[in-house]
Symmetry: C2
Subunit: 221 residues, 2 copies
């Protein structure tokens, strides 16, 4: 049994949750108010952020390192292809979403609308929200361009790249910030990933003070 210290609307935590669930590793979820810098939590992770997972008797942090570790120690079902070029493409896209998409979109929409309120940092900056709303269109178009050529984001099989992207988009969908009408291929891709058993716990998330739209948990959205 793994134990994951997380917050429900963190794309990095969701990516780890999806990997754990897809690999059928049972997990005990513990919500962590990481911004309160509780000394017990800081002892578990000096970086002071989530996700932190207790697995194989070790406390582990940094979502990318955790997911690679899971892949190396629990290879079934695989979330990375075998070929080095294909693995490169998976890792490039995981970085694309966790770095660029996060910077351009997630930090400007989710963090402004949700994290600021939860952590008592005041109101959303409307300039950031406007920039994020503009940037997500460009990113959805980039995804559509990839999915016009491939069944999944990094190639013909589902990988960590799909989980990274779905982790961000599902958090933004919780606050109605994804326009699913922009691209049919992106919507189809999300419908496929949303209907996986690994996604169930994410669709059941409830964050106090923020009610998701009805389509959030609907598989026929």
């Amino acid at each position: 049994m793994a134990r994951l210290h997380h917050v429900p609307l963190s794309p990095f935590c969701r990516k780890v949750r999806l990997s754990l669930a897809e690999k059928k590793i049972e997990v005990d979820l513990v919500e962590e108010r990481y911004w309160e810098a509780d000394p017990d939590f800081l002892r578990r992770n000096p970086a002071g952020k989530v996700p932190v997972v207790r697995l194989d008797g070790k406390m582990m942090s940094e979502s990318a390192a955790i997911c690679e570790y899971l892949e190396e120690t629990r290879p079934e079902p695989p979330l990375m292809p075998k070929d080095p070029e294909a693995r490169y493409e998976v890792r490039r896209l995981v970085s694309w979403f966790d770095d660029k998409f996060h910077h351009d979109v997630t930090s400007k929409l989710l963090y402004e609308r949700v994290n600021k309120k939860i952590t008592g940092q005041g109101y959303p900056d409307s300039r950031n929200v406007k920039d994020g709303a503009k940037a997500i269109k460009y990113h959805l178009d980039y995804m559509a361009w990839l999915l016009d050529q491939r069944r999944w984001l990094a190639g013909d099989v589902m990988t960590l790249a799909d989980f990274a992207a779905a982790a961000h988009l599902s958090c933004l969908d919780y606050i109605s910030d994804v326009d699913w009408n922009r691209s049919a291929v992106v919507k189809d891709w999300y419908a496929k990933i949303k209907s996986r058993p690994a996604f169930r716990s994410i669709l059941a998330d409830q964050v106090s003070g923020f009610r998701p739209p009805p389509h959030y948990a609907d598989l026929d959205f």
Copy 2:
């Protein structure tokens, strides 16, 4: 022959340069004024940032994905151990430096003092510089704590984690922002890594308008 599009004072580019050099892959360096968003460069990398490397007939971006690809296709000499737990620790530390150290220190010192001037964004924000100067002490202490228990940052062998850390610190050392008197073990570690042949090209870097201190390229600093 690889071709690397880079800027000299980018820790992400330096990490890739160190990996290429350690694995004895000859590289043609091309300085890229990525902030000018040249259409040719954007075609090579839609994320619009460096490093971008041309290798095995492919254009590759995202330093973490590039380094993992190098490791998988050119395993000698290894920059990652074999054991999954040890590999986790390497990746955790690479993320620590490229994410947390970058956010706390590099973006607040190097980007304020150098990148802003080069890209015509004005003067350093003194609040950021002050925060960065404070944060680097905490990070050097964390490195000292690791190096009290281990020969290299992630364990008993030199790995990508050391290159990630040295890439950031060498950029900061170029602008005299590292207090090497703070910790003898950290200084010894940097002396070891600085004296490797792979480090030579980095010590020879010259950035117009910024002269490095005499100790920057001195192996007995």
